[in-house]
């Protein structure tokens, strides 16, 4: 049984709120076993939060937003471009912070919660429910800057909501190449490298450029991925390794 089939079965009771479910069908085009394993050491981590729902039909859209977030979590998890924070972790964080489940998951709060989860990006979504149609919007937020990195939307008949979820996920991750944040994914520089970098800063402040360059290079020798030291070397005209 495919991963997608399991997902559909899991959310079927909720989706019944929207429309009669289409017959569950196996999707042979994307079996889970064919999904290349993401390089978790380099791909960025995203956290998906419950979608906010606006219903013009008077129905309570809370469960819809939660179900669509779960579906989107699974869709994104199947793609190699990102690594997705486990849904249970997200739920647990929200519950421990006693956030009102029906409350609006605005972007600022999503960014802060994603940081707490160790994610570099957060995915927030909104659902627009009309009597016969549905619209899904997705936004990808950089937790370091709070800026929207990507947005995607799909709309269609309510009875095609499952296809809409897949479509919006496809569009959302198409050619998606998010940089992994060094602070989150890379190890911290060792103390010796930090000390060398700090010595470089002191020498630079005192105008002892030669010694500053020497220290920045030492920091890079101890930790080749030391971005700050590399930037300092460029600033000093000492080249970067």
């Amino acid at each position: 049984m495919s991963r997608r089939l399991i997902l559909i079965l899991a959310v079927a009771p909720t989706l019944a709120l929207i429309s009669p479910l289409p017959a569950p069908a196996q999707d042979p085009s994307r079996p889970a076993t064919d999904v290349p394993a993401p390089d978790t050491a380099r791909v960025p981590t995203v956290a998906v939060f419950d979608f906010t729902t606006t219903a013009l039909t008077g129905e309570d859209g809370t469960e819809v937003g939660r179900a669509l977030a779960a579906m989107m979590t699974t869709e994104l998890a199947a793609r190699p471009a990102v690594r997705v924070v486990d849904r249970q972790q997200v739920r647990r964080l929200i519950e421990t912070r006693q956030l009102a489940l029906s409350g609006r998951m605005d972007e600022a709060r999503a960014v802060e919660l994603a940081k707490l989860l160790g994610a570099e990006y957060s995915v927030v979504g909104s659902v627009w429910l009309e009597p016969s149609r549905v619209r899904i919007d997705l936004r990808l937020l950089d937790t370091a800057t709070g800026t929207v990195e990507r947005a995607s939307k799909q709309q269609g008949p309510r009875d095609e909501v499952l296809d809409l979820v897949t479509a919006v996920a496809d569009a959302f991750t198409h050619d998606l190449e998010l940089p992994a944040r060094s602070g989150a994914a890379a190890p911290d520089p060792p103390a010796g490298a930090v000390l060398a970098y700090s010595r470089g800063l002191d020498y630079e402040r005192r105008g002892m450029d030669g010694r500053a360059v020497e220290m920045y290079r030492r920091a890079l020798e101890l930790f080749p991925r030391y971005e700050a030291a590399a930037a300092a070397l460029r600033r000093m005209g000492g080249g970067s390794r």
Binding site: G192, V194, L195, R199, L201, D202
Partner: protein, 594 residues
Amino acid sequence: MTPSTMHRATAVFVLAAALAAAAARVPVTAQEIRFESELPRTLVFVPEAGGSGVAASGVGSFLIEAGFPLVDPALAHTAAQRELVQAALQGDEGAAVRLGRDFGAQILILGQADWGTSPDPISGTLVTGTSDVRLRALRLDEGAVVATAEGAGREIEATDQAARNGAIRAAVDEVIEETGFLGAIVNDWEANAWTGRGYFEPDPGSVESAVRRADGIGPGIAILGTRVRPAEGTDLTTRGIGVVRRSEAREADGVANVVEIEGVVVGRDVAVTVEGEPASLEPVRAVEAQRLGIDEGPASRFVARTTLSLDRDSVEIVARDGAGNTRTAFASPRIDERWAVIIGIGDYHDGLIPDLDFAAADARAVHDFLRSDAAGPFEEDHVLLLTDEQATGRAMREAMFVFLQQADWDDLVVIYFAGHGAPDPNRPDNLYLFPVDAEIGSLASTGFPMWDVKTALRRQIAAERVVVIADACHSAGTAEDADTGNPIGGAFDDLFTPSRRLTLTAADVNELSYEDARWGGGHGVFTWHILQGLQGDADADGDGIVTFVEVASFVKTGVGHATDGRQNPQHSGLGDVPLAVAGAGGRGEDAGDR
């Protein structure tokens, strides 16, 4: 000498081999107590409201990771009842500098961490914490500020505490990772040699302290020795360690001791009175002045004899110079309370450090003697015994820096150490006693530096009369191998400037210290003879009171004879102190004739 007497010496050679394996060469000449390293010994003191210590902990953790020898901040806080600590906590920089010196630091990182929290403006359920951390680094040889920095942090969390701690950590991280603060400390440390000027206070009551006072207005006075004659017609004369202690005064109304006082005054045209009576003065000759460490200014020796009733504590000495400046000092011929730290370590954790068979037994025997009638006895809660597993580096520090703080100026402190001592193979100028948890490959962080012994004695222990007895295994060097000689004995001699602080070490330079079962069933020959002497054998003048000088003389002769001249204990210091009552017991099973 039979092969069985070589146990402690054999341990010396094994240790020397281990040290040699850790370093190419260890010179034998370094005897001055210095502490040299690529990075300075640092104490971090960053008070913050709420007292959670997040900032200090954050800075300290990084420094340890970076290889700084860190002065144990817990040690400083152990003495939190002291006014000095309280003043430093409240931002008194002078108090903080003194605190840093008191605990042996060369750099003091001093700062303040401010913080605040507020509800998350959006949800009202999360808490936003903000923090500002300001740090300054001071070199403690001259008190110069070598680095300053500020950092700001912000954190959103579920609780006040988590948000506060997160914000402070973020601010500290900013200082460490994004400023040249720590770099400036290291750069300065490399560029400017440690001078040590003004670092150590003179020993309390020492000649050096008198000379320093004489640098100001008025003469300086140092007591070189006191002697209390037993009062006639009262049993009090043989109580305690042979003289009446101040605390016993109320029991002997109307009784007085005859006391003799010898001292030195520094200054021009000085006259001295003792209890209002003129004292006889004679110039200190050049050779004697050199021995006393008096480089400048005329000095005179005075002697006086007076009576001291049992309801009085001290004798008043007044010096007046030719310019009319006066200085008053007080001598306490009687010892008030007595304190002791007794350490014996033979069972080391590090397999590279050879065990000693009888070091712990030596310590226990000394302890038992001090608790016997012959020694007073020392009060139970005034004696701290640390053997083997108890004698960790932390425990030794607390003993020296905290326990002995209780001693007052007119008390007597006895410090006894039996165990290993050696220079750091990577930094031969740095000398260490080995706690039970010492690691030979990382003595800088696990050894007990002689620097700390000196710091504690100069800055923590107020008692003017101190007796240090050390059998640091090869406390006087490894004779047969000049490259692995050991300067630790010389370091004990360097503990004190001329004063009534006395040292007795197990052997001379380039001699070994021996232990064997034939001495009291298992002791070091040095400690065994100390015990014999204290129990009465050393009472050369037959007055019933065994003094330090008598014991030292007895031990020198006895140990030299017992080892066919291979081991010769050394002693230094001025004056004398009574230690025991001859024939009053104290020969426990362990200390019997064999």
